[in-house]
Symmetry: D3
Subunit: 243 residues, 6 copies
């Protein structure tokens, strides 16, 4: 691990300032405004008693997610997907990732026939929006589940959440593995990886892509170690927020 | 004017607490997070040098707006318009209203061949989202114009903004005209009106609709008076924010 | 009120020639081909016993409207919205306006669980298409309600129509308030207003927009007076048609 | 040929009452409101100097058509294709047929680099809408071409129209070949055929479909003869209209 | 009939090499990979017990078809219709044609309340894709019906197929009527016709279009004779495949 | 590595029978029909001289991919995305993956201003469709590049392909890591991973997802080793095909 400073003064293995503002929304059953440095994502969890038709009568719940970005969340304005009339490939892919990450720590039997939709809307983007979204979405999800319990939609003894989950990006820049890439770093990374890790330190997702040169096993291992350690820090921040 | 208290303790002619957080977005050329009580709208102004093709070479600029609502801005979740693949009628109508309101105080010749797009995204809704959007959008617009001037896209001596503009809702509830309706009031209103007024007190838009019984000229006059006074207060808040 | 002549020889407070051809369509339960000068709108009312699912079992009916324009109704051809794959903002806005205007004079309890859809298709456009549409749609609606009564879908003693409704445009041109603007006038108007008024002379909608300079209260009052008088004339024409 | 009477009193080889109201639209360069009995189609021809990009510089013009039906043109209301967001298969197919039929009598070289779009909007449907549309569209096309000549977009000596074109439906009902089917006949027909024939009596399109039992060569010949004769009558009506 | 050789050495009345590979798909209830020379179409029949809602309880089955082309089935790549977000007019028209052709030989009462969807995907195109699709779809349909019988969804004694059906293109090139046009021939044809004929030699569809000069009755008759003979050959190939 | 037999008799580290039929399409500049057991994907490469507008003048080429599945490629029929009017999330995600995988071995400077679009259409699906698509797409890409060289669109000495690329799925079933999962295995896998590896054995993509229990580092390493070895076998099959 190197101790060379980054553009924002961080060391290679240092997270940006992470804050999670719990209960930001007055309406949602669970919500969190999460910041990873300049990246700000509003996560709201909507709880509905009942499940989609294809799941009815199986005694299981459903958790899903939708990710989107405000038009001017980024440095230049993007057209709205509602105006374009279709959702882009990147948006779809990230929505699916967030949903899988959350479901990995949910016992859908214990959730009962309830549906939770987590909306992750990026208000400002500076790299790592999908990992910030997963990290904030977990907090919103946890609160929505407690709301469901308070309303008796979920049994008092049921534990729908079997673990916590957080995510962080890692990448190799100028040959150095680095944690939690800001946008200016992300565009320069040779390899870009997102790791989704449970509170107990197990992998839920590992998505590594060679943006420049392909990478070898040794680089992969270095990135995974950085990511696991970063997720452990995020887990502690989540726990403190929910305490 | 009556002094009977409303659900939130306001008098009939009293605005909710209005705050305008200027420069909320790190990326946009102008931005404002405006709150009218529980209604929170993020307004970002994106400045582009140049105009759409149909306006090229006419020496005039263009100002337009897009309004949208996050899925869980309201008490129950609405499907995303991007997922539905089309923008609803209400969304279109409000986007068009905001654009007209802003253009009414812009001298497009003085703006030069520049385009400003104002995005108004409702993060939380509690009535009056369109009027809050117009009020906040004006602040974002003013800052974007100053940015354009600082970048020499707008001439130093040009005054693209010929006046300020703000908006407020008024309505008749149980026979009493009231200012700045919250959601619980809005659904009960017999008549619902939005007035858009310039800093000098002239009308830009008057949109009154009988939701219940049709209304007469006397009621219309009472509503207009309330609205004009409310907009004058909003004008002062805008001016203080921009000072 | 001025007596200066307009391009078509009218005085400022004079309607264009208005005709309503009742029962134009062989298939619809109510229909009217309405002309305001060169503006021709075919209004058909489709009566269905039953209501949309979200209204079922509430003992109330539903009235809605859809507005559209043939591609070559205007001076130059517009692409079809069906080909573009989406309905434009202006179309949505006008459809919603017509629906609200009609519902304002309908007692949905008295209508019973029946649905009436009014289609307003502009065959030829020369300004004031939305106001002509509302005026004609009322006639089609009245006939559809009588058809429903004749078929016993509506109780004999029920009076679903509590009043009549008509609409007209007014505007300020070269400082003079004028009634029922033709297209060549509409594009020159500094202020453009549509008023929707019941047979008893009460307002259902007032939609005024400053296209050029913002307007003051005195101008607003002059426009409203012109509009109310114009609607009274239209009410008489509707009554004669339905007699 | 049988002389048995049909529901509307016609003989098997008799057209319904056909009228063509030329110049119905004040805006279009050519227009015709055509009626085949209860079927009424408004045909407007829009003339544009210039051609689509893919045809530019080839010295040839372009003629195309769009067919559509008002929602309540039929006995029960159909959803608008603009609302559904897509154009149905039947609509596409008929639009393409009308375009091909018209192009068959147009010398695109003589037309020069001009585009004519013919809109055929069915105001009321009672069988044979596509054949009425072709018959009326020819009249609108002829007038649009004369307009283009008067504006000098088409050379004085050029003859873009090399022939006239009309169309009619024929079908076999209870074993009897019949001309120009009304809706009640169309739904009962065992075989349904549309023939498009030039003024000189040559075939442009022959589209025969067995709706019930497949048909043999003798039946096909009987239908073709009926169709050719019907088109000759329509040609004469077109000529009288254009005289 | 001429004996002059064509580009590929065929006589005017000769089919290209036709092969039908039955049971190509491991999953579908019936399938066939059909080739007419360089045209290759994969036809799969999907059998579902039950019918669409609008047909429920009428004791009748439903057969429908969807036609599509891979993006690079042709000489230059076409954009995918899924990416464009809408199905083109030609695609719709051909899908409808195939469905009608198949339904013409199906006794839907004997089929019972079962639905068969035939997908015809053009893997490689060299003219005559719709006629190859019909010819192959019949084989897939026949196998799907036998599968339904084996599963007891269709009664043992029922004969849902009342005849076989095949199709071929014919056209006039340089004044000579020719059978089964390859792509290079199709683009040169003055008249283009598709005939759909049952095994017993009766017409289901006759679709003739003058691409260049309109055609007369004698030419039409020559084309029909060629088509009927070609379909008889195709019927024998289908029968051999299914034997 | 275990030697327990799988449903199809394979050992845990054994690929299914892999075949690559090069030049399957008569029209495409490069093509391959690739089979991984019952999974069959048709890959066609379309070469265009020139690049999309956003890349013009940068001296670089562009390689992209589109993945799709025929409606009845799977055990039950799926609705066409063209009919649904939008491309699903999974389709988008796989298209993007294939494109990234191919671009990882392309030197876009050496490719010059040329565009290659690879269409991967799944004709039959039995697990591993995306990995088969990448493996076949490489062969189609290699042939398209040679075609471009033969046409002088690519310089003789340029080597646009800097390496080969192949992909395979791996997963953990009942605790045992296994290579190249068939569909029946895929649905049972606790962890599912796709690895994309270059001919030299470097990683381009690693996408591992816990479908059931999250996985630890030791399991991840076992999966990666299986995947790297499987890709080496695929590389040899690609090389033999292209020899």
């Amino acid at each position: 691990m190197t101790d060379s400073l980054r553009a924002d003064g961080r060391t290679a293995d240092q997270l940006r300032t992470v804050t999670i503002e719990r209960g930001w929304s007055a309406h949602a059953e669970g919500s969190a405004l999460v910041s990873f440095g300049g990246t700000k994502v509003l996560c709201t969890a909507s709880f509905t008693n009942g499940v989609p038709r294809w799941l009815t009568g199986k005694g299981k719940g459903w958790v899903t997610a939708e990710y989107a970005m405000l038009p001017r969340a980024t440095n230049s304005r993007n057209d709205r997907e509602s105006i374009k009339g279709k959702v882009g490939g990147r948006t779809h892919e990230i929505s699916r990732l967030i949903g899988r990450a959350l479901r990995a720590v949910v016992d859908t039997k214990a959730l009962g026939e309830n549906t939770i939709v987590i909306d992750c809307d990026v208000l400002q983007a500076d790299g790592g929006t999908r990992t910030a979204a997963i990290t904030g979405a977990y907090v919103a999800l946890a609160d929505a589940i407690e709301w469901g319990r308070s309303q008796k939609f979920i049994a008092q003894r049921a534990t729908p959440l079997v673990d916590s989950v957080s995510a962080v990006s890692v990448g190799i820049i100028d040959g150095t593995p680095m944690l939690d890439l800001a946008y200016v770093e992300d565009v320069r990374a040779e390899t870009d990886m997102n790791v989704v890790v449970t509170g107990r330190g197990l992998f839920v997702e590992v998505q590594g892509t060679a943006e420049g040169a392909p990478f070898d096993k040794r680089e992969l291992d270095a990135l995974l170690e950085l990511g696991v350690n970063g997720c452990a820090e995020l887990r502690d921040i989540q726990a403190a927020t929910l305490a």
